[in-house]
Symmetry: C2
Subunit: 336 residues, 2 copies
């Protein structure tokens, strides 16, 4: 095999506010010979996630931060080009934590082989990947959603939110989305089948939710934090459940996190607010993938990836589109 | 029976900030003849609770607000002076929602007869009353405290907090209190047997908690809200539980509630924050009273009432002592 050149994007500085190009370095390295048990993947797709912003920060979190000088962490998918692991052969399609680079050498144990005969590779970064798992376990386990529940989800046009609402309907509940802009709201209602969607950019969210949820909110699945979390807290139902999945409205804040001032509504309504991280459910991913693939085959669940093709050097600009809310569905960068 | 004069304290205005004398009216009425099923109680003790501040506000809460012109709501205890209910006779000692007044006519179904042979009447407003029930169900049910847990409780010298820490020790955990002032901290550790108590008025709470809880906080029982809630959120353990019982630091705020900016620690630590109201456990009060009375008899549980004797007209000033944090243990006003 000829010596491969690997273009890599490394974290060079801890961003303040929105990540900028200067916070990263762009380097070309030669791919080193594989060690025993390793697999070399040519990365074709990168998963762009709000959580990446947190990984760039120093300090204790649910996983260690990306160190300065380290290749930026990212979930990815691609094709095996060389293998020193018995379970993988060149040509296999795989997903794993590849990082933002063209080639990744990864221990076989940390790769998942996927079947792209009926499902495109990028769906394994979306509906059948982390966002799908997050929606499934977050809604059904953490929020303990039951038939008849009114479920409100923010980031409703995003990777996780778009699935949460559809699962809520599949499970016999009402799904109310919150998203930014008429296009997203139309997508959520007309293409994904939510009962309704509130446009936080043009509507009075509190007023619209009161109209749409006259019996209040049984489950609020929070992807955004900030003011919308406070509004939903105020309208939470008796014994309601709030799942804290993310807080994209706050990640780039330079003035600190906004705390939910209405949290005493938890007391008034005997409600709970619980955080979770999808990795904790890893042993049960098989259950979720089987269920979701089944609903997809029946046409009940639509997963949508928003694929942006760009050279790996455009990582920062492409991630910026995610924080600017330009995506419908799961944001995927196809390395062009 | 001669016509009885009843001195009553009625809510006259919705307080802004600390309740003031002008927010109440002080009136004398004649006690009306009892209706069938009613019992007339001469109120000797009033329970003074942080929750009273919330009852003075308009708007939806876990119980309706006290209306303007209505006798101020209060739990109380006293002696039956007349009865038109089969289950009660003059001389019986009872507790119930008496209101801030000298005499209360109450339906028999809403009164509890208590045995004062071995336990003083005021204890039925404290350890064996609502505060005791709140501590018991809040710690053991809502916070699901387990053996070996490190339990932190704020308002540790107060009615509920003083019991929470003792129950935590009885159940095989460590009890760390947070209270204001050296006297309270000494009381909590030396008289009640907590493992330690942090003086938030003179110590760096975050630093002291890190020292006292090197393996972080499994259960935080919150009576105060504000900055201390934020500090405990930041130090919550993996799968930790925060019980929201009250927020005395915020009740008299005129600038709105402070939301816990560190709530994303719930996600990082897969932790939950849950609100509760003791009334929901009413069917199980018997279980708690039996357990607590047993521990009291064994000397494992000490309940302390802070009894202030004053005429009923001094209600506002006496309640002010509670919000000023002058009480050690349950604040009870003995109507003098």
């Amino acid at each position: 095999m000829p010596q491969l050149q690997n273009r890599q994007v490394k974290l060079a500085a801890r961003p303040v506010g929105n990540p900028k190009r200067e916070d990263f370095s762009f380097e070309t390295a030669q791919v080193a010979p594989l060690e025993d048990g390793e697999v070399l993947v040519r990365v074709s797709h990168l998963s762009l996630d709000p959580a990446m912003r947190g990984w760039m920060n120093a300090g204790r979190s649910y996983i260690p931060p990306v160190e300065l000088g380290e290749v930026m962490r990212a979930g990815g998918a691609g094709e095996v080009v060389e293998s020193r692991h018995d379970a993988f052969r060149p040509g296999d399609q795989v997903t794993g934590i590849t990082g933002v680079q063209q080639y990744a050498a990864i221990k076989g144990e940390r790769l998942q082989k996927v079947d792209t005969a009926r499902v495109p590779l990028e769906s394994y970064l979306g509906g059948l990947g982390m966002p799908g798992m997050t929606a499934y376990f977050g809604l059904l386990d953490v929020c303990a959603m039951k038939e008849g529940d009114t479920v409100v989800v923010s980031g409703a046009a995003g990777a996780v939110g778009s699935i949460v609402g559809q699962l809520a309907r599949i499970k016999g509940g009402r799904a109310i989305g919150i998203a930014g802009g008429a296009d997203k709201c139309r997508f959520v209602v007309e293409e994904l089948g939510f009962d309704a969607c509130v446009d936080y950019k043009s509507e009075d969210v509190a007023k619209r939710l009161r109209e749409l949820c006259p019996d209040r909110i049984n489950v609020y699945f929070d992807n955004v934090g900030g003011e919308i979390l406070d509004i939903c807290l105020a309208q939470i139902a008796f014994h309601g459940r709030i799942g804290i999945c993310g807080a994209i409205s706050q990640y780039n804040s330079t003035t600190g996190f906004r705390g939910p001032a209405n949290y005493m509504s938890l007391l008034v309504n005997r409600a709970r607010m619980e955080g979770f991280v999808v990795f904790d459910f890893a042993k049960r991913y098989g259950e979720a993938v089987a269920a979701m693939a089944g609903w997809m085959a029946e046409g009940k669940l639509k997963v949508k990836e928003h694929v942006v093709e760009a050279p790996v050097d455009q990582f920062v600009e492409t991630l910026g589109k995610l924080f600017a809310g330009e995506n419908l569905g799961k944001m995927v960068m196809k390395i062009g």
